[in-house]
């Protein structure tokens, strides 16, 4: 058991992130539910709820799970990040390809791993390039 912990102690970090994000989602949900309950109280009394309270209902919380995580939609960016990503992934792919071909690190197996990394990063660079070329500024 101790050996297992020594080998996989770093898994605590991603797992803690998952638990923290789940907890944050729960807290945001509770806040929203409480705001809705307050609006309900106003409605039952036949009064208008304050505009700030109504604005809070439509506020997008800083929530890793609710906004973007686990297949959710993120707010469309007003900046075309495709060029930045294409340059970054392209440069990384070039670097890995150079390392694989020059054999600086002197290990044949490592060169194969570098080639695989270069291919993956080149594919990401290509995808980013397509994204950059087809990107449209969001309306509004």
């Amino acid at each position: 058991m101790e050996d297992l912990f020594r080998s996989y102690w770093w898994l605590l970090f991603p797992m803690a992130w998952f638990i923290g994000a789940g907890w944050q989602s729960w807290m945001n949900y509770r806040t929203r539910r409480d705001a809705l309950k307050l609006v309900q109280t106003y409605a039952e009394r036949g009064q208008e709820p304050p505009p700030e309270l109504m604005a809070a209902i439509n506020r997008r919380d800083d929530d890793a799970l609710m906004n973007g995580g686990f297949g959710g939609e993120t707010k469309p960016s007003t900046t075309n990040w495709g060029w930045y990503q294409a340059a970054l992934f392209g440069a990384l792919a070039g670097g890995f390809a150079f390392l694989a071909r020059s054999n600086i690190l002197g290990d044949e197996g490592l060169a194969d791993a570098m080639t695989v990394a270069a291919v993956v990063l080149a594919a990401l660079a290509l995808a980013s390039l397509v994204y950059a070329l087809t990107w449209k500024r969001p309306q509004g």
Partner: protein
């Protein structure tokens, strides 16, 4: 058991993702239910629900 974990530790990531997605879906359905209950309250007292509430209801389910 430890050997099994060493071979399949990476399964924790898709599993955690799936659990997170299920948790998120449940929270969204609860939020949507609360919004609809509030609209019901407005309907019961014969008042128009605020525009912000309708806006919240019109959002796509995946928008959160």
């Amino acid at each position: 058991m430890a050997d099994l974990f060493r071979d399949y530790w990476w399964l924790m990531f898709p599993l955690a993702w799936a659990l997170g997605a299920a948790w998120q879906g449940w929270l969204r359905s609860q939020a949507r239910r609360d919004e609809l209950r509030l609209v019901q309250t407005y309907a019961a007292v014969g008042k128009e629900p605020p525009a912000e509430l309708i806006k919240a209801l019109r959002r796509e389910p995946q928008e959160g």
